[in-house]
């Protein structure tokens, strides 16, 4: 096997690199010698080791992306079925209340965990972290491969629950006991067990991937890449991974205890229960304990999705506005601060859950404190646009769409985080509108922007701009007209998770709106297939992108070959001399200076020291 390694051939990056520029002293280009030797990589030769059980983080990233997208499409189809029922009750004959609740549950769980989390951390994380940090690969490629295949099995188990007796669990994505494991909820037998098993597998697989992301960022950056020179994408994914490593344990423990309650008849979450006139064998457990465990995972989970999105959007805006990200330090500290605070706010999901009401004061305060760093990020995004030189291409449109939807959803978050305002609005459609806007649509805008931005790197070809614009406007306008009016259903008081609204006089006034929302949902869902068509078309006939097509500064565009090969950097690791945002530097010839450009080559510029 050892012949598969070519590490002996790699020339180690030279210490004291002194490529003297035309002017300026070579001393200013000095970068410390390498601390570690070059990474030992396993190069696959057969089809299986190259594309299936592959240890290259870039291939693993694409694998994660494709599988997450696949499950995401299933989630999308489920949402269509739900909207069909809500907009036009009774139109789909097969739709019973059981089915409806199963679809609600699976849609929620798939979208939050198996789509967004897997896509941002598994997909973008794997692809971008080594490239942006200047590493050859993730530090533990074998573990990284296992991580993907664990995710694969987890998805398999999750989807298998559609085919077991009783169907998938219909307990809502929060899986609150006692209801989730009792008769009266669809899928309370096999469904909930497979769900718990799938989550445990997902957490195990994710832990393997997460260790890779963290150690790569901490210990495998290239020479000159200090923490404060890392692109915000890396900061976002890194912090999100830290959150995941500390939050997923609570989910794991909750799932395990619930499985035991179901299988062995323990009573961790089960108090004395009277069902159909008979007292069940359970007793003495606490249902609220599960809610605490769930939301101790669940709230950081929101930021596990949001922080990578924050990071990626910062980079996209900066590249396409041809301007450095405004207040980089503030942005980094905001990401870290939001991450840290997110562990102290979980019970704002539980204001009306029956927990000790005095917790309300504490959690309302911590929750609203988070609004401050988040608002700072928003200010910095729009201040980056200010006096920029904005390319209004598809990527930038997604960014603008993100700002609108994120600010909208963030502000409704202030409604729900403020304990008193939450009382009338919790468990209504206002909540649904809020979290779809802020952690459904807004991250989706980022994903789409990122796909249009990095596709030229991954595939070497530009996606079609015209189709991209259609895709954007249909998605943005459609999604906005789904969720903006939906807040008002919440004001009326329409509760969530109602299979049918029935006859309440004030609720029937919303029939027209529900029909409108459903139609918009069908259109938005269908519009996503434009992207798939665009990708297929581009792979066949797309315009080649070449090196660094967006004229970006960050490392991922500076690989010797496009798309980058295994090992990323050819013979020599890059050496970094500056942060990732030197756009439009006064005195420079072009409007960007790449991270690898030594100071002596751009000696007459006024660059901030980073």
């Amino acid at each position: 096997m050892s012949e598969d390694f070519n590490n002996n051939k790699i020339i180690h990056a030279q210490s004291s690199e002194t490529i003297g520029g035309a002017s300026g002293s070579p001393d200013m280009d000095y970068v410390r010698p390498a601390e570690t030797g070059d990474q030992d990589l396993y190069h696959g030769h057969s089809f299986i080791t190259k594309w299936i059980f592959c240890q290259d983080a870039k291939v693993i990233g694409v694998q994660y992306f494709l599988l997450a997208t696949f499950t995401g499409i299933i989630g999308l189809i489920l949402s269509w079925l739900m909207r069909l029922q809500l907009g036009f009750p009774g139109l789909a004959g097969f739709m019973t209340a059981e089915h409806y609740y199963q679809f609600v549950t699976m849609h929620g769980m798939i979208m939050v965990v198996y789509f967004l989390t897997a896509l941002f951390l598994g997909g973008f994380g794997n692809y971008l972290i080594p490239l942006m940090c200047g590493a050859r690969d993730m530090v533990f490629p074998y573990l990284n491969m296992i991580s993907f295949w664990m995710f694969f099995i987890a998805v398999g188990v999750l989807l298998a629950s559609f085919f077991v007796p009783g169907g998938p669990t219909g307990s809502g994505w929060t899986l609150y006991p006692p209801q989730s494991i009792l008769e009266g909820t669809p899928g309370s037998g096999w469904g909930i067990l497979l769900m718990c098993l799938s989550l445990i597998l997902f957490v195990a697989g994710f832990t393997m991937g997460g260790l890779n992301y963290l150690i790569t960022v901490l210990q495998a950056r290239t020479r000159g890449m200090t923490l404060m020179r890392m692109p915000l994408t890396v900061w976002g994914i890194f912090t999100a991974t830290v959150l995941a490593m500390l939050a997923f344990p609570a989910l794991l423990v909750g799932s395990l205890m619930m499985s035991l309650d179901k299988v062995l008849g323990t009573s961790f979450f089960m108090p004395t229960i009277l069902k159909a006139g008979e007292v069940l064998e359970y007793g003495g457990g606490s249902p609220i304990l599960f809610q605490h465990l769930f939301w101790f995972f669940g709230h950081p989970e929101v930021y596990i999705v949001a922080l990578p999105a924050f990071g990626i959007i910062s980079d996209l805006i900066s590249v396409h506005a041809r301007k450095n990200i405004f207040g980089y330090r503030m942005m980094v500290w905001a990401i870290v601060g939001i991450g840290a605070l997110s562990f102290f706010v979980w019970a704002h999901h539980m204001y009306v859950s029956g927990m000790n009401p005095w917790f309300g004061f504490f959690f309302a305060t911590t929750t609203l404190i988070i609004a401050v760093p988040t608002a700072m990020k928003v200010y910095n995004w729009i201040l980056t646009l200010w006096r920029g030189n904005i390319r209004l291409n598809t990527v930038m449109l997604w960014c603008l769409g993100f700002i609108v939807t994120f600010v909208n959803g963030g502000i409704t978050g202030i409604f729900l985080g403020n304990v008193t305002v939450d009382v009338p609005l919790s468990d209504t459609y206002f909540v649904i509108a809020h979290f779809h806007m802020v952690m459904g649509i807004a991250p989706l805008m980022v994903i789409m922007g990122a796909v249009y931005h990095w596709f030229p790197l991954v595939a070497g070809k530009f996606l079609d701009e015209k189709l991209g614009k259609w895709h954007f406007w249909l998605t943005f306008l459609g999604a906005y007209s789904i969720y903006f009016p939906m807040h008002y259903l919440g004001f009326i008081g329409v509760p969530r998770r109602y299979f049918e609204m029935y006859d309440s006089p004030y609720v029937t006034s919303a029939v027209g709106m529900n029909e409108f929302i459903s139609i918009a949902a069908f259109i938005v869902g269908a519009a996503q297939f434009i992207l798939i068509f665009n990708i297929i078309k581009t792979l066949k006939t797309g315009k080649p992108a070449g090196h660094n097509p967006w004229k970006a500064c960050s490392l991922e565009w500076l690989t010797p070959s496009v798309p980058p090969e295994h090992g990323n950097w050819g013979d020599r690791l890059p050496v970094v001399h500056r942060w990732a945002y030197d756009y439009s530097v006064p005195g420079a010839k072009e409007d960007f200076i790449t991270q690898t450009t030594p100071p002596s080559e751009v000696a007459n510029t006024e660059v901030e020291k980073t």
Partner: protein
């Protein structure tokens, strides 16, 4: 995996110097092997798992309407006609802590490239772990014999059985996994895989004595967790 060498790096004094070192290029933890850093972070994550278990246990124990059984009676042993509380558990704890000591020695001899001593000490650690698991199995069977089940408990609150079996079981699984790896590593040490830097079976990464230290970290952690479980279940 590669050997860290941090020539040319001068650590800076003071708090701001520490911040500077932390944020400097290439590595955050200077000279720390990738695998070791990974194990530390994994253990941090694992700490959260055990914390969730133990906090749930505290909550469960605090809110159950039925009386919690008295640990010194439930866990007591009847030896030579006398009731000795916590006897078995004291031996178990002693064995596990001793095995931590042999593990630490194994790491030391590993770095000294003393293959034989290192291998024997790893084996001793593995046998200590195995003894611990065996005694735990004995304790489980004793409790099961007395009628304690995860779902019921003749001595009081049924949650006692649930939490006890779940948490000690989860910890026992950790120990068992550790024991399996200890045997593998003992074999690899004796066979000289670390001396020849032989590539691993699965990961195809070069062998190195640092792996023993990484496993040692895990082993000490499992020990430490046991101390907490011991305190929470047997002394509370």
């Amino acid at each position: 995996m590669s050997d860290p060498k941090i020539e040319g790096y001068q650590f800076k004094p003071g708090f701001s110097g520490m911040a500077h070192d932390t944020a400097s290029d290439q590595t955050m933890f200077k000279g720390v092997h990738w695998g070791k850093a990974m194990m530390w972070i994994f253990l941090l994550s694992d700490t959260f798992i055990f914390s969730c278990f133990l906090i749930s246990y505290m909550k469960g124990r605090g809110s159950t309407p039925v009386e919690w059984p008295n640990p010194s009676e439930v866990f007591g042993l009847h030896v030579f006609g006398v009731d000795v509380p916590l006897l078995l558990i004291a031996i178990m704890t002693f064995v596990l802590i001793t095995s931590s000591g042999t593990m630490a020695l194994a790491v030391k001899y590993g770095y000294e490239k003393n293959k034989k001593m290192c291998g024997w000490l790893i084996l001793a650690t593995a046998i200590g772990g195995l003894t611990f698991v065996g005694m735990q199995a004995f304790e489980w069977s004793k409790l099961i014999h007395e009628g304690v089940r995860p779902w019921e408990n003749p001595f009081g609150a049924p949650q006692f059985g649930s939490f006890f079996f779940m948490i000690t079981g989860f910890h026992g699984t950790h120990v068992s996994i550790g024991v399996i790896f200890l045997f593998i590593y003992a074999y690899k040490t004796f066979a000289g895989h670390y001396d020849e830097k032989k590539r691993g079976w699965f990961t195809s990464m070069k062998g190195d004595y640092v792996e023993i230290e990484i496993l040692g970290l895990y082993w000490h952690f499992v020990d430490l967790v046991w101390v907490f479980i011991f305190a929470f279940f047997y002394l509370w």
